[in-house]
Subunit: 269 residues, 2 copies
């Protein structure tokens, strides 16, 4: 057996999240079924980050062991025929290191969140953007990101995992940036956030809070106090899952996997 | 009663086309139901162009008569709450001319067709782009457009309507252009085509033919001969509906309705 590294994209709309669950379609469940069919044996897979039901993926990374004789190009083709287009393996290759671990080796995770800020709905943004009708002040939302950058206890913005006595909510936020997206969807806003790791619902809780700043219900100056509360009850709202996408996972020994220009084996046909 | 003008966008994936049909959801059917509920009476609607099942709309235009006392902003909001986000009224206003007719007054229709030209599928392009795996030569596809520009009998690329003895297939093609789309979807190609009017399945038949040129199965020099055949049996293939979108309809006395920068009432909130 040999360690392999897989980059996966998925439209999470009709999926029950990344992690396997009995009886419902999930990213991991559907991928495992397809890979096991081709590899003709059980496989154990590890993902870089769990995503909730309805959340999308573009650069999700998975590590797993496969028989060394397996033709990965053939495997990728067959898996995509079985799982696509809802779930698509963007890249499948042997890992540089035999012990490569998608979750523990990751040095950062980058998420994107899209908000459609228009009066009327847009059919082509409905699956991947949160429609907010009230006009948003982008500069205020950007200003409100400042106190979040750096290493903090993010308890205010995190849902506590069940069954853990006193889990650490300390994370290191590397960057957080709002921008307007040029393209075919007028009024589309993008939030790009990078951290060493995120706790549960952290991005959606931060987005929900920043949108309150954008509408004027909160002020940028309120964010620091909220963060210091370390109390989830004080966070105003959690943004819906369908605007969120796990965009990229970074590893120390290699270039980011989700950029097609830097990854020689993932260039489009 | 007063003549109104409506611009509509729709994701056609789960709709049975634009025109009303008994027992299945269509754009016109769902819009009429919603408008009649608010207007409290029957309405007659005319669309600029019929689109087939699975085809999308961004700038479809509809003309209809409504009670003069009706608040159009309220009507738009309520219709979008009932029909959105799958179908969204982008703009609703009183027509400049009392006799404005969405179909007969249109001087051009512009369609877009998207092709995803990558080895692997992309979950986020699956609903709106035709996935073509074989590498396409964009310059050859562009060259092949030349003989189509101008006024021609497009019988080769048109499906004959039932029940008409000898319908004219003469149309005036104004422009046809291929381009690569910069954005989040690597390998996305766009075909933009404008004509005074199109006959049935004409855009999809032209795209199917141009893609054969892109893969090298046909040569750009073959297109003129195909056009002169005036025989639908000679056209190689019809591209699938889900890559097509009715992008814009042009009228002589007003600016295009689908550009938010030129239309004062459709600017995003």
């Amino acid at each position: 057996m040999r360690r392999a590294r897989v980059t996966v994209a998925y439209d999470g709309t009709d999926l029950y999240g990344f992690a396997e669950q009995v009886g419902v379609p999930t990213v991991m469940g559907r991928l495992r079924e397809a890979i096991e069919k081709v590899a003709r044996g059980p496989v154990e897979m590890v993902g870089a980050g769990r995503t909730d039901a309805g959340v999308h993926g573009w650069g999700q990374v998975i590590s797993l062991d496969l028989p060394e004789t397996l033709d990965l190009a053939m495997l990728q083709r067959r898996v995509n025929r079985m799982c696509g287009p809802q779930i698509a393996v963007r890249e499948m290759r042997w890992a540089e290191h035999p012990e490569f671990h998608a979750r523990f080796d990751a040095v950062y995770r980058q998420y994107r969140y899209h908000v459609l800020n228009t009066r009327e709905p847009n059919p082509f943004a409905a699956r991947t953007a949160w429609h907010v009708i009230e006009p948003l002040q982008l500069w205020a939302m950007q200003l409100a990101c400042d106190p979040l950058i750096g290493e903090h206890d993010f308890s205010t913005f995190c849902r506590r995992p069940k069954g853990q006595e006193n889990p650490s909510m300390v994370r290191r936020l590397i960057s957080a940036k709002w921008s307007q997206v040029d393209g075919d969807v007028p009024g589309l806003l993008r939030f790009e956030i990078r951290a060493n790791a995120f706790c549960h619902q952290m991005v959606r809780s931060i987005v929900g809070t920043l949108v309150e700043v954008g509408t004027g219900k909160l002020h940028a100056g309120d964010i620091r106090a909220l963060l210091l509360q370390r109390n989830r009850q004080t966070a105003p709202q959690v943004a819906p899952p369908h605007g969120l996408v796990l965009w990229e996972v970074g590893y120390p020994t290699s270039l980011p996997t989700s950029s097609p220009t830097t990854s020689p084996t993932s260039s489009p046909g």
